[in-house]
């Protein structure tokens, strides 16, 4: 069966430090991959999505970037974190665009 792993679960970082959040999917090939951010008590905002290795589409201009170095690996990065980058980050995947997305457990990111 397919599983999605996301880490770390919690991260506290100072302003200006770099960021790397990782997401991997097991049990499937060539999944569509997604990064979302959720502000406290609000809905999810799509940040990036990828339909294949090396292909990244950005939905919101920001301080973050994404990469897909392997088929089932999706990384969210920043060179210098801002206070506004705080939030709950979720990775998701599906096999076809119109199928339900399956979410990881999320990363709670706090910027000090």
């Amino acid at each position: 069966s397919q599983t999605i792993h996301q880490w770390p679960a919690t991260l506290v970082q100072p302003v200006g430090s770099p960021l790397s959040l990782e997401c991997t999917v097991e049990g499937t090939s060539n999944p569509n991959l997604y990064w979302y951010r959720q502000a406290a008590g609000r809905g999810l905002q799509l940040l990036f999505y990828s339909v294949g290795i090396g292909q990244i589409s950005s939905e919101v201009p920001q301080n973050l970037s994404a990469s897909r170095p392997q088929d089932r690996q999706f990384i969210l990065s920043s060179k210098k974190l801002l206070l506004s980058d705080s939030g709950f980050y979720l990775c998701a995947w599906n096999e076809q665009p119109n199928q339900p997305q399956h979410f990881g457990d999320g990363t709670r990111l706090s910027i000090l």
């Binding site: 997604y34 339909v51 589409s57 939905e59 979720l90 665009p97 119109n98 997305q101």
Partner: protein, 115 residues
């Protein structure tokens, strides 16, 4: 751009009773899919139910069912025989059939279940 609106920030229901959560959406497309996701305090996103726009029949999953009114662009979720474990934030979400799976979420409704 597509938008999804959940007009009820909070709802409450007594255990074993029925509750309906509202969702409306705005789109000019004919090929799309709608979802309800549940987010308990653990913050994991869990799929509750899915509806294809081309299907007239309302989707049902055990105690969860939807009332899909395509002309009115309405997609409400009915939870029957509510249980304490149903307490969560519920999100309505939309995806176009041509948008590479880019989900648009509503702002969510917090559901409280009273014993």
């Amino acid at each position: 751009a597509q938008t999804v609106t959940q007009s009820q920030p909070e709802m409450s229901v007594q255990e074993a009773e029925t509750v309906t959560l509202s969702c409306t959406y705005d789109t000019s497309e004919s090929d799309y899919y709608l979802f309800w996701y549940k987010q308990p305090p653990s913050r994991q996103m869990i799929l509750v139910i899915r509806q294809e726009a081309y299907k007239q029949q309302n989707a049902t999953e055990n105690r969860f069912s939807v009332n899909f009114q395509k002309a009115a662009k309405s997609f409400s979720l009915k939870i029957s025989d509510s249980q304490l474990g149903d307490a969560a934030m519920y999100f309505c979400a939309y995806v176009s059939g041509t948008s590479y799976g880019k989900l648009t979420f509503g702002q969510g409704t917090i559901l409280t279940v009273h014993p």
